[in-house]
Amino acid sequence: MFQESKPKIPEWGYGINKDRQIDFDRNDRRLAEYIRKYEPSYKLCISCGACTATCTTANLTDFYNIRRLNVFLMRGEIDEINKHIDKCMFCGKCELVCPRGVNTRKVILIMKEGIKKIKQNEQL
C-alpha cells in the first residue's frame, strides 16, 4: 500500500526536459525576416483571431492555428510552424475575414518556401 502511493518517476513531472522558454536570443528568426521581405503585410497582424475562427483546418485538427503560427514566426519558433503548416488547404477564408488585410495565404506559401530552403540549407 505504502509503496503504491509513492509517485512514479515518469508521472512526476520533473525530469530532464527541454527548456520551455522561448529563447529569443537563440531562436532562428531568418524565416520571419524572409516573410517580412516578401510579404510585408504579415507585420500588420493584431492577433484578433478572426482567421482562426473561420479556418476549417483550425476547427477540425489539433494544434493548427494560423494566428499562432504568426506569433511563433515572429518569435523564431520554427519547429512549431514546421509541425503544423502542411495542414493549410489554402482556401483563403482567413484572408477574407482579416480586418487588417493581411495576405495570409501568401504568408503561408512563403513560410513553406522558407522552411524548405532552411531544410535544404539554402540561403534565405
Binding site: I46, S47, C48, G49, A50, C51, T52, A53, T54, C55, A58, N59, N65, R67, R68, V97, C98, P99, R100, G101
Partner: protein
C-alpha cells in the same frame, strides 16, 4: 457686438457652441436638419460613465439656446455657402443668411452594419446594432427577441466598422468599447439571469472612470469577456445566432449560440459633413473627416479662413470631449471676429 455666426449642425457640438457664443454676445443662427436640436444625443438613453439620463444633458443644451440674438432653423438643409466681402452668404432653400464666421458641427453617422455582411445584420432578425439596443432601453428597457422571448444569452461584438480595413475604416471609434460595457451591464440589470458576453480585440478604456466600469461589469454583473474578433454569424433554425470566434487566450476556435447579437457600430463621417466640406472646399483627412489646420495646437480652424469646425465632424469623440471641443472652438471664433476680421 454686431457679429453674426452661422452654425451648421445642432447636435451637442453645435448647440453648445451656439449657447456659449450667445453668452459672449454674438448673434447666432443655428441650422439643424432634423426637427429638434440635440442630434445623436436624443437617441441615447443613459450616458457612460455615470449612467445619467441623456435627457439631463439635452435639457442643459436646450436651456442655453434662447435670446433675441438667437435664431434656430429646424428641418433645414444647407444648399450653398459663398464668400461675400469678408463674410459668408448661406443659402438654404430660398432663404439667404449673412454671417461673419461659420462653424461646422455636422457630426457623424453610425456605421451601416449591413456592409459587414458576415455578421448578418439586416438578414437575421436577432442581430441588432448598439443604437437599436439603446432605443430599447429608451423605450423602457424591455428586451425581447422579435419573436417575443427573453434572450438567455446575449453577445456584444466590438469594433463593427471600426479598426477594419476591409470596410475602409481603419481607425478606432473610441466610444464603442465603453458603450458595450455599459450596455452589457444594463442588459444584466433588465435580465439578471441572462448570460452576457463581450467579444473584443482590445478593450480601450481610456477615460478616467472607464476602467472602473469594466471592473464593475466583471465584479458586480458577471459579464464575460472573450478576447477574439467574431469572424461570422449564422442563423439556427430556431432563429438563434451561431457565432464563430477564436478564443485567442485559450488559443482555440470557439463557437457559441446566442439569442441576441449586438453589433457595436462605430463612427463614420456623416453625409452632412461630406456635403458641407465639398461646398466650402474644406480639406479632409484620409478617413474623410474634416481636417483641422493643426493637429495639436489648432484643431478648430480649417484651410478656409472664417470657417471653423467642432465636434465629431473631425474625429470620433465622447460627449464630454465634444463639449470641451465646442467651447474651445468658440474661443477661436471670438478671437477671429474681434481681432482678425477680413477687411477691418
Amino acid at each position: 457686438m454686431n457679429k453674426y455666426v452661422f452654425i451648421v449642425g445642432g447636435g451637442v457640438a453645435g448647440a453648445e457652441a451656439a449657447s456659449q457664443l450667445l453668452k459672449l454676445g454674438f448673434n447666432v443662427t443655428l441650422a439643424e436638419k432634423e426637427s429638434q436640436v440635440g442630434g445623436k444625443l436624443n437617441q441615447w438613453d443613459r450616458l457612460f460613465p455615470s449612467k445619467r439620463k441623456s435627457t439631463e444633458v439635452a435639457r442643459f443644451l436646450a436651456e442655453g439656446l434662447s435670446g433675441n440674438n438667437f435664431r434656430l432653423l429646424l428641418n433645414t438643409d444647407i444648399l450653398n455657402i459663398e464668400r461675400t466681402n469678408g463674410g459668408f452668404s448661406i443659402s438654404s432653400g430660398t432663404a439667404k443668411f449673412q454671417a461673419d464666421a461659420v462653424l461646422i458641427a455636422t457630426g457623424y453617422d453610425v456605421f451601416d452594419a449591413r456592409i459587414k455582411e458576415e455578421y448578418g445584420y439586416g438578414i437575421y432578425e436577432n442581430v441588432i446594432t448598439s443604437v437599436e439596443l439603446e432605443a430599447r432601453f429608451k423605450e423602457g428597457g424591455k428586451i425581447f427577441t422579435p419573436k417575443g422571448q427573453e434572450p438567455k444569452r446575449i453577445g456584444f461584438v466590438h469594433c463593427v466598422g471600426s479598426r477594419d480595413e476591409k470596410v475602409g475604416n481603419h481607425y478606432c471609434s473610441q466610444v464603442c468599447c465603453v458603450t458595450a460595457v455599459k450596455q452589457a451591464m444594463e442588459v444584466k440589470e433588465v435580465l439578471p439571469r441572462s448570460e452576457v458576453f463581450c467579444f473584443y480585440m482590445d478593450l480601450r478604456m481610456f477615460g478616467l472612470q472607464f476602467e472602473d466600469l469594466y471592473r464593475e461589469a466583471q465584479e458586480k454583473w458577471g459579464v464575460n469577456f472573450i478576447r477574439g474578433r467574431v469572424s461570422e454569424a449564422a442563423e439556427n433554425i430556431d432563429g438563434s445566432i451561431l457565432i464563430k470566434v477564436e478564443d485567442t487566450l485559450a488559443g482555440r476556435p470557439l463557437k457559441m449560440k446566442v439569442d441576441l447579437l449586438v453589433l457595436m457600430v462605430g463612427f463614420v463621417p456623416s453625409a452632412g459633413t461630406q456635403n458641407i466640406g465639398k461646398i466650402l472646399n474644406l480639406e479632409f483627412t484620409p478617413e474623410k473627416f474634416l481636417k483641422p489646420s493643426d493637429e495639436h495646437i489648432d484643431t478648430y480652424s480649417t484651410n478656409q479662413k472664417g470657417v471653423f469646425i467642432a465636434g465629431t465632424c473631425k474625429a470620433p469623440k465622447t460627449i464630454t470631449d465634444t463639449f470641451a471641443d465646442a467651447r474651445a472652438a468658440v474661443l477661436k471664433i471670438k478671437q477671429y471676429l474681434e481681432e482678425d476680421v477680413p477687411g477691418k
